[in-house]
């Protein structure tokens, strides 16, 4: 993203608009919607491929959390970096990855981002600034701090975003990483996507504070709570945090409250939450629907425009799956490739 230009409008009218509608021009906003669809359809496509046995292992879908991934990535430049989680498809796409190569990775193909070695849980796009999803809850947080340390040392001006879940906030890695980032005033933004549960365990049962952002005071950094299903709110918080980071003022903790529609992974019986709860979020708080409504309200898109985006996304997903299908599998004899940088002779 990053290429946001201010809309032209009269000052007064602007002031009443939500942040995103002040900050981005219409084309950018339409592209945001497109990307949110791309994330959702990508995951639906992956889910479907999994059901058909084309993808093995497990996967963690972020359907319902698209606004959070998109909003956070808006102020990021291509060279900025993120670390992501097991639930990382949305982050990857929001940061600019190509769904073709993502599908190819899920299909275990050499054309995948990780050449078939990583799969969903390690989806990455290093060239595009995604240092990788992580199979270890909290594992990416110190790594993000390290990337931010590099940025500071090398004076690249980069900022780094570390995505993690509510469950991760009880890991020691969270504590240690946030403390160091603050002591060293590093350009890193900690984004806790609080979807209410770490697997089956609600934040109430696992976390001794009401809001994860309340823990920011323990690291003397701003703690910001946003409605993670409201793209504009998320983007606004991210812009502020990125500005702060780039100005050398140090890290921010953003808590983005959201919800995942699907089970935790492919083996979830969904016993820990009610159908009503899920339905409520899906019907009344869907991030894409809400954003669409706003876009229409502000005259940025109409139904035909939305339909066109949907069709376009559908085509991109189909092409991506096709690309993955026809891509070659790695040669089993190359299994030891990439263990070390210099391959043994």
């Amino acid at each position: 993203m990053g290429a946001a230009r201010k809309r032209t409008a009269s000052g007064d009218a602007l002031a009443n608009l939500p942040f995103a509608f002040r900050q981005y021009d219409a084309a950018t906003l339409r592209d945001v919607l497109r990307k949110m669809y791309l994330i959702r359809r990508f995951e639906e496509g992956a889910e479907d491929s999994y059901t058909r046995g084309l993808i093995h292992g497990t996967m963690h879908l972020s359907i319902g959390q698209e606004a959070s991934a998109m909003g956070i990535c808006m102020p990021l430049q291509p060279a900025d970096q993120i670390t992501s989680t097991h639930r990382g498809h949305g982050h990857c796409i929001a940061k600019g990855a190509d769904v073709k190569r993502m599908f190819a990775e899920f299909f275990g193909k050499t054309t995948g981002y990780c050449k078939g070695r990583g799969g969903s849980m390690h989806i990455a796009d290093v060239a595009g600034g995604n240092l990788g999803a992580n199979g270890i809850v909290g594992g990416g947080i110190p790594i993000a701090v390290g990337a931010a340390l590099s940025a500071k040392k090398m004076k690249t001006g980069k900022v780094v975003v570390s995505f993690f879940g509510d469950g991760a906030n009880n890991e020691g890695a969270f504590h240690e990483a946030l403390n160091m980032a603050s002591v060293w005033k590093l350009p890193v933004i900690f984004v806790c996507e609080n979807n209410g549960y770490g697997m089956s365990t609600s934040t109430e049962r696992s976390t001794a504070v009401k809001n994860i952002a309340d823990r920011a005071v323990a690291y003397s950094m701003p703690g910001v709570i946003v409605d993670g299903n409201n793209f504009s709110e998320v983007a606004e918080a991210s812009h502020a945090a990125v500005e702060r980071a780039r100005a050398g003022e140090g890290p921010t903790l953003i808590e983005s409250k959201t919800y995942r529609y699907r089970g935790h992974s492919k083996s979830d019986r969904n016993r820990y939450r009610t159908k009503e709860e899920i339905d409520d979020w899906m019907t009344n708080r869907d991030p894409i629907l809400a954003f669409e409504t706003e876009l229409k309200e502000f005259g940025i898109i109409d139904d035909a425009g939305i339909e066109a985006i949907r069709e376009d996304v559908k085509r991109e997903i189909e092409e991506g799956i096709e690309f993955a299908k026809v891509s070659p599998s790695p040669d089993v004899r190359d299994v030891a490739q990439f263990v070390y940088t210099e391959e043994p002779a």
Partner: protein
């Protein structure tokens, strides 16, 4: 006295052991991530929370180091916690408490405490979960005095060894191969134990000894079946315990067969197979050896995601068959 033959899955057998222990002993309780209403990542605790309540089937926050430490502290002070790691890979976060505290506490304190904690580690590859969810790390813990480390290979042993572990006054680490969870086998009803520290000859044979661990026991038995058709008589030993190692059973077998192959899933270098080779190479059985000692183990790579690659990095039945065939035919 044996109950009627009854089949349970490996996961059910573990669950039954935990239920029996909790019924018999108030001090026994379970801790782990999502072991309550979720039933555990591999449904091993299943519905136990409904039977025993959330106080005895405790969901922890995602805090492996702290959680393991809480279990250690509880064990030192009168309770008998069973701590489930969701994947054995996450033991990497808790090595401090396992190795510096649980394993050494009794020694450091001159015998003034015991640490009767049981930790369960779902381990191994084959589920498409890639490099951070597929490791076999039992060799690490086997290297640590103060711990006991077991790898039951059957539902029968899973139940009996877990009960032995719970009754053991010292910390016992159980590595459970995830692909075994659904495997069924006869499991007696009620209480029984299978001793920690005793290997078992699963199949007698004259020509070659295969020492296998965990899931590899089954692969070795399959290989032995195939080779029997070729006139090669394979003795298969189920190691069962990594620490303390039952060296005697292996030595006796090799005295008889004069040939030794070990097979495990964990990385070959510095894996259990190395210890088995070294045990024979330093023992009197050395003089009986007719051939080099062959090791089969995991490849020197992380576990890849792609399913074909994933299979390629751990020993499969044809690999075992080929290795034994070569050895017995003198091609090695």
């Amino acid at each position: 006295m044996d109950a009627t033959p009854r089949e349970l899955s490996y996961a059910q057998a573990i669950q039954e052991a935990m239920a029996l222990a909790m019924e018999a002993d108030e001090r026994v309780f379970l801790m782990g991530e999502d072991i309550g209403v979720y039933g555990g990542a591999f449904q091993v605790t299943g519905d136990l929370v409904e039977r025993f309540g959330a106080d005895r089937v405790m969901d922890t926050p995602i805090s492996e180091l702290g959680g393991a430490g809480v279990a250690v502290g509880a064990a030192m002070t009168g309770m008998r916690p069973i701590f489930e790691f969701q994947f054995s890979d996450f033991a990497t976060l808790a090595m401090e408490q396992i190795v510096n505290q649980a394993a050494k506490m009794r020694y450091m304190l001159g015998g003034e405490v015991s640490v009767p904690v049981v930790m369960r580690f779902p381990a191994g590859s084959g589920t498409g979960a890639a490099a951070q969810h597929s490791q076999s790390l039992e060799a690490w813990l086997g290297h640590v005095p103060g711990l006991k480390v077991i790898q039951p290979a059957t539902p029968h042993d899973a139940k009996g060894m877990l009960l032995a572990a719970i009754e053991d006054p010292d910390p016992v680490m159980i590595f459970e191969h995830k692909l075994l969870y659904k495997m069924k086998g006869p499991v007696p009803e009620g209480h029984y134990t299978v001793p920690i520290g005793k290997a078992e000859v699963r199949r007698e044979g004259r020509d070659v000894t295969v020492v296998a661990t965990s899931i590899m026991v089954h692969k070795a038995l399959d290989a032995a079946e195939t080779l029997a058709g070729e006139g090669i008589d394979v003795e298969v030993i189920d190691l069962k315990t990594v620490r303390p190692l039952d060296r005697q059973t292996i030595i006796e077998s090799v005295r008889k067969t004069s040939r030794l192959v070990s097979v495990h899933e964990s990385v070959k270098t510095l894996g259990i197979g190395a210890e088995i080779s070294a045990t024979i190479a330093e023992s009197d059985a050395f003089d009986y050896l007719d051939a080099p000692i062959v090791r089969l183990g995991g490849a020197e790579t992380p576990i890849p995601y792609n399913p074909e690659l994933e299979k390629a990095v751990v020993p499969q039945v044809p690999d075992i068959v080929a290795a034994i065939r070569d050895l017995v035919s003198g091609r090695r």
